[in-house]
């Protein structure tokens, strides 16, 4: 038995060493979450407008065109994490005047990462590890990058690829927090299936109520700090708009109305069907995300509408 335990411990030691080395390597890879965490702690006092939300707003809004703005939006970021980010980092932004948050077809109805199938829960790790979001206990898979081997492997391979071929690092951002990956991608043809994929899907009422709760919490935080909360629904390509579930759109609108009536620091404007955007193909790099061209005009529009 002693010999068995000794040999197993030796074997496990090798595995553990490799595991630790891999974990450290993956954590060392530059990523936008750590960048934003560091940036805002150092430069937060200069921030007047903070952008939260997911890839929709990240593609649609350029903080460089606004006055003293920074984006803490991330791909597929859920409202729960927007709430956490505002709660944690607003204290580094004493001059904060505006928070921009999308009320979206995606984020209001999304399920938590932990309830997603397969490897799709990996984003929960980023908030836990890089932003110190203490949602899960220390001994949990959410504290280890290598606990999701697929995402860790992918990150590592893309980093090595960027070093070897002098490419941009994937999952990184520019100096004001906007994600660089995919920004200049262009989908040649937006098909009915692409649109149906985005528009379809069964929605759980439980998740809708859960996400609404976080928006209300964000609104309260903004009210306490005397900050304006600008809620917006970004434009989408016209084919996509036509395919969206009308009941869900009505839910978004009615909730936005409820929020703006309850909190006087909250404002809402929907650009979902704004004809200045939705019919111009050059404004959309795919069915839901705006291109750089579209981003420029949408940011200018927001600037005018809300005097940012």
């Amino acid at each position: 038995m002693g010999r068995f335990v000794k040999n197993v411990c030796f074997f496990l030691l090798i595995i553990a060493t490799l595991g630790v080395a891999t974990e450290l390597f993956v954590r060392h890879i530059p990523n936008s979450y750590r960048y934003k965490d560091n940036w805002i702690k150092v430069n937060g006092s200069a921030v007047k407008t903070l952008v939260l939300g997911n890839s929709t707003i990240d593609n649609a809004l350029s903080p460089s065109l606004l006055d003293s703005a920074f984006t803490f939006a991330n791909s597929d970021q859920l409202l729960e994490y927007d709430d956490f980010i505002l709660d944690k980092y607003s204290k580094y932004c004493p001059n904060l005047k505006n928070v921009i948050l999308p009320l979206d077809y995606g984020n209001l109805f999304s399920e938590p990462y932990e309830e997603r199938d397969g490897y799709q829960w990996y984003r929960a790790i980023y908030y836990q590890v890089y932003l110190d979001y203490k949602k899960h206990p220390i001994i949990s898979k959410y504290n280890l990058e290598i606990a999701n081997p697929l995402s860790a492997r992918n990150k590592a391979l893309q980093y090595i690829e960027s070093l070897l071929y002098n490419k941009d690092i994937a999952y990184y951002c520019d100096s004001l927090g906007r994600t660089t990956q995919g920004r200049y991608d262009w989908k040649k043809e937006i098909t009915d299936q692409d649109v149906a994929r985005y528009a379809g899907g069964v929605v759980s009422k439980e998740y809708y109520e859960y996400n609404k709760g976080h928006v209300i919490s964000i609104a309260k935080t903004c009210q306490e700090k005397g900050v304006r909360l600008i809620l917006t629904t970004c434009p989408k390509w016209c084919l996509c708009v036509n395919a969206l579930n009308q009941e869900r759109i009505d839910s978004i609108r009615s909730f936005a109305s409820q929020i703006t009536n309850t909190f006087d620091n909250c404002y809402y404007k929907s650009y979902l069907k704004d004809s200045c955007f939705i019919y111009k193909r050059s404004f959309f790099r795919d069915e839901t995300h705006m291109s750089e061209n579209g981003c420029y005009y949408f940011t200018k529009r927001l600037l005018e509408d809300f005097e940012l």
């Binding site: 068995f4 995402s151 492997r153």
Partner: protein, 481 residues
């Protein structure tokens, strides 16, 4: 608790050390097995423990009564009661909603009357199909006087709830497992190391092959109508490997874990994708379940000792029940029917389906004929997997239709159903499948893929390598004569 989780990684060493700490106290050791197994099972939901306790208790008590009963009618009644009770529990949790929904749909189509209220939406307890069958096999064997009923409830509860095989098999027979709990176990270094190797292989199959295949398979199935025919065929093949690696990987981990505790579980998968015909396939796939159906359904119905018509009837009954056992869904019933039909064809054509040895026995490579037979059998199995994967029979047929209808549509250069998927997945799958097939082929005559004999494997191998280096003219083939 699942095997590939942090919880299990912490659970196993604690249980291992405490178990062997109690090595000289058999009853305490068995009692500890029961506690540990109930903790393992209750980790999902403690309420499930009530059901497994009921099954264990009823089977144990019935066993004791049957052992004491002298009249056949008493034994029959007791056995019947136990079967009805346990199958009743299984049927309620697993099959009630399926039949209720179908009945409601039927009534609605006939008279338009809505009967949605009759479904109960019960949560299916994990592993209920496995431990129920395990308990029933004990009860039936005691009734038939094949085994003596145990009078020790702790031994029996340990037999039913032994955690490595509790949630996904193998379905153990009392003749194999129960005696192992009734006698002392001593720690065996070789057995434990071999168990760890088997666990390692199981984890490799599950984490490297199955989980990566699942990503591509799920992405393809989500939008299968848009994919090329080649993509769909590849997805069907990958799903076959995913299912095999998931299921057999879990069995390997279970068997390997049991060996750490000095318990030998029966082999559940015998490299089934190297089968030369569908009949051989079913002797190598989920062996514990198929032998259960053979012994408790097929043989009592007459087995193969009856007319051909009855033989085929028996085959269909077994496979339809097997399909239903897997999942209460028409697709699985169709899957069972498909396999029954294939075996029936072999029976009707009097094709030789049993072989003395495994394929390519004493050879490294199979003959062309053997290769063709394995490929044909594999293709037939892959077709059935479409039914396993589909939500409805219509979807299964639609998938098959799309696979040849879209065959002319250009497939991506590197199989990639969706741009958002990580690029490394196909690469890992190719490497993983290559390693899987090569190692399992080379080890097809062994107990498991990493069964490399006694503890002197490394010394012998290193010895051979050193000898070859010191004697450059050494003829490698001499040692193989």
């Amino acid at each position: 608790m699942i095997f590939n989780s942090l919880d299990f990684i912490l659970f196993l060493p604690i249980v291992f050390f405490l178990y062997w700490f109690l090595q000289n106290r058999l009853r305490s050791q068995n009692f500890f097995v029961v506690i540990a197994s109930y903790v393992f099972y209750g980790w999902w939901d403690w309420r499930f423990l009530i059901l497994i306790a009921i099954t264990s208790l009823s089977s144990f008590v019935c066993g004791v009564i049957m052992e004491r009963a002298e009249k056949v009618t008493e034994r029959k009644a007791c056995n019947f009661f136990n079967i009805v009770l346990n199958l009743g529990i299984l049927a309620t949790y697993k099959y009630y909603d399926f039949f209720a929904e179908n009945l409601a749909a039927l009534i609605k189509s006939i008279c338009g009357y809505e009967l949605d209220w009759i479904t109960l939406n019960l949560i299916l307890p994990v592993g209920i199909s496995f431990y129920t069958f395990q308990a029933l096999s004990y009860s039936i064997d005691v009734y038939k006087r094949k085994i003596t009923a145990t009078k020790d409830p702790i031994d029996f509860f340990a037999y039913i709830s032994f955690f490595p095989q509790l949630v996904a098999g193998p379905i153990e027979r009392a003749t194999n497992l129960l005696p192992q709990f009734q006698k002392s176990r001593t720690f065996d270094y070789g057995k434990a190391v071999d168990g760890l190797r088997q666990m390692l292989w199981g984890f490799f199959k599950k984490i490297v092959v199955a989980d990566n295949c699942a990503i591509l398979v799920d992405a393809t199935w989500a939008h299968y109508q848009e994919q090329s025919g080649l993509t769909l065929i590849i997805a069907a093949v990958l799903f076959s490997f995913q299912l095999y690696c998931d299921f057999s990987g879990y069995s390997d981990i279970a068997i390997g874990t049991a060996r750490l505790f000095g318990i030998n579980l029966k082999k559940n998968f015998d490299f089934p994708y190297f089968s030369r015909n569908i009949s051989e396939f079913w002797r190598k796939w989920h062996i514990s379940l198929m032998t259960w159906f053979r012994d408790y359904v097929y043989i009592p119905l007459g087995g193969s000792r009856c007319s051909k018509a009855k033989l085929i009837r028996n085959i269909f009954i077994v496979f339809l029940l097997s399909g239903l056992w897997h999942k209460p869904n028409w697709t699985y019933i169709a899957w069972g029917g498909y396999h029954a039909a294939l075996i029936s064809i072999l029976v009707l054509l009097n094709v030789k389906t049993k072989y003395e040895h495994t394929v390519a026995y004493n050879r490294v490579l199979p003959t062309l004929k053997e290769t063709a037979m394995m490929l044909i059998t594999f293709i037939l199995v892959v077709i059935s997997r479409v039914f396993s994967r589909a939500e409805t029979i219509g979807q299964a047929f639609d998938f098959i239709r799309c696979s040849y209808k879209n065959i002319a549509v250009q497939a991506p250069l590197f199989f990639f159903p969706q741009e958002s998927l990580p690029h490394s997945v196909p690469f890992v799958i190719v490497i993983g499948l290559t390693v899987l097939i090569v190692i399992e082929w080379l080890q097809r005559n062994k107990e498991h893929a990493l069964d490399i004999g006694g503890g002197h494997f490394y010394e012998q191998t290193m010895g051979k390598v050193v000898h070859i280096l010191l004697h450059p003219n050494y003829d490698l083939f001499i040692c193989q004569r």
